[in-house]
Each structure stands twice: as C-alpha cells, then as structure tokens.
Amino acid sequence: MRDRTHKEQVIRWAEYVKKHPRSVWIKEVKPLIDSQIIMANNFYERHAKTEGGIERIRNLREIKNKSSSVKRKIMKSNTDCADDADAHG
C-alpha cells in the first residue's frame, strides 16, 4: 500500500487536468507514456540480437500470457466469473 502522499498527488494531478485543456496536460503525459513503450521495445530489439534472445523473449511473452490467465482464474474463483481481471468484458 502506498502512503497518503501518493494519493494526494493523484488528486492534485486530476485537479490540474480538469482545470487545463488537453493541449496543456498532454505535453506532460505524452513523454511518460511514450518513453515506457519506446524503452521496452528498444530493449526487446537489442535483446533479440543476442544469443538465445529471441527464445527468451518468447518465454517472457508466454509468462505474460500465463500471468494474465492466472489472474483471470483467481478472479473466476473469487467471483465465479471468468475474464474480468484486466478489462470490463
């Protein structure tokens, strides 16, 4: 559990977004969102060039899919309903 200053920051930021048009807040959010994706894809591209890299990436992908599937099974056992861990559907 994060401490209360984290929640205060979530609220402070939401209030900032509410008070400003998208053209203002997107400049601050875009680097955060884009850099996460660019850095991850750069890593995978570099890693794919190493010995056994493609195989390890394939394993990572399988782990990710399994982890998602496990989350769903937990949700199912808790709620008797599959498939709600990540999305509404």
Partner: protein, 187 residues
C-alpha cells in the same frame, strides 16, 4: 474530431489505427485503464482493452485478415479459426500487437453478457480525450473499477475520473451499474 499527430501518444495512435480496421467489421468499445489514461491519468500501461460485439467466425476471419494487412499480428496464433474457436468463443481474450513489436498490445474479446452488450450500446465518444474512439461510459468505467476490479491502480483511476467528471456524473446510473455487476459478475 481532428487528428493531430503531434499531440498523440503512441497508445493513442495504436488504438486509433486498430479501431480504424475493427469498426469496419464490428461495433466496439474501449474500456478500462486506457479510458483513464486518455483523460490524463499519469500512469503507464502496455495494454488497451477492447470489447467487440459477438460476430460469427466468418466475420471475425475477415476482420483478422484486415488487421494483418494493416500491420498487426495476433500473439496467440496466426490462424484466425484457432483464435476464434480456442480463445474468443471460450471467453478468453487475445492480444494484437504491431507486427514485430512487443508492446503496446490490444487485448480483444467478444461481448459475453448483458453488461458487455450494455457497454457497447451506450458507448460514447468522449471529447475531453481528443480521440476519435468509442469508449464505455464514464459511469461504467468507475463502477467496474470500484465494484469489481478494486486494485489500488483501479481505485486511483476511478478517483481520477470522478474528479475530471465531478460535475457531470450520473450517480443513479453508477448505482444501477454496480447492482448489475453484483448480479452478473459477483453472484
């Protein structure tokens, strides 16, 4: 809504490019975390969640083939029949990425019950996002996050949306949706 590339995140263009194909084949709705992120919530994600109406196998195969032509690939299988029969009709989502990329990914599933049908029926374009996409209603997103998902991240997403839409939320609709979630997903 005009599309200006300079203010689009990678997630925005990914989602818009994907639904450009999907909407030719099925009604869709974008749900969950990306709804909050499209409203300025400052957190990362690698997944955009999309629910499409229940379409038959032939229609899905056409959509899948168009997605391939548009530069996407499905992680689970290259065979649309397998994707449809082994995953989608089993109420399991599948993930599409841009060919050769690892993230972001589009998590796609078929509508599975009255709540999903309702989400698609009441989908909206949300001007505050600046995006030309159909989203599930804000009340629906908040209700799912507060009533069903409930992780710290989900509760913060809900809080963010509550603040952004503080003067526009339909609290009666929220109560009604939460009751439906309890009836259909939690009982």
């Amino acid at each position: 809504m005009s599309r200006e590339v300079k203010d689009r995140t990678i997630l925005d263009t990914f989602a818009e490019d994907f639904v450009d194909v999907v909407e030719k084949h099925a009604k869709y709705v974008i749900v969950s975390g990306f709804v909050a992120i499209a409203h300025g919530r400052s957190r990362g994600t690698e997944v955009v969640d999309i629910i499409i109406e229940r379409i038959n196998k032939d229609a899905f195969i056409k959509m899948h083939n168009d997605l391939l032509l548009a530069g996407f690939e499905c992680i689970q299988s290259e065979y649309p029949k397998v994707i449809y029969e082994d995953y989608l009709t089993e109420k399991t989502s599948v993930r599409y990425v841009r060919k050769g990329h690892f993230i972001p990914e589009m998590e796609l599933k078929l509508a599975k019950d009255e709540l999903d049908d309702y989400q698609i029926r009441t989908r909206k374009k949300l001007p505050l996002t600046g995006l030309d996409l159909y989203f599930s209603s804000i009340e629906m997103n908040i209700a799912f996050k507060e009533e069903l998902l409930r992780s710290e991240k989900d509760m913060e997403d809900a809080e963010h949306l509550r603040i952004i839409y503080s003067d526009m939320l339909d609290e009666n609709e929220l109560i009604r949706i939460k009751a439906e979630i309890r009836r259909l997903r939690l009982s």
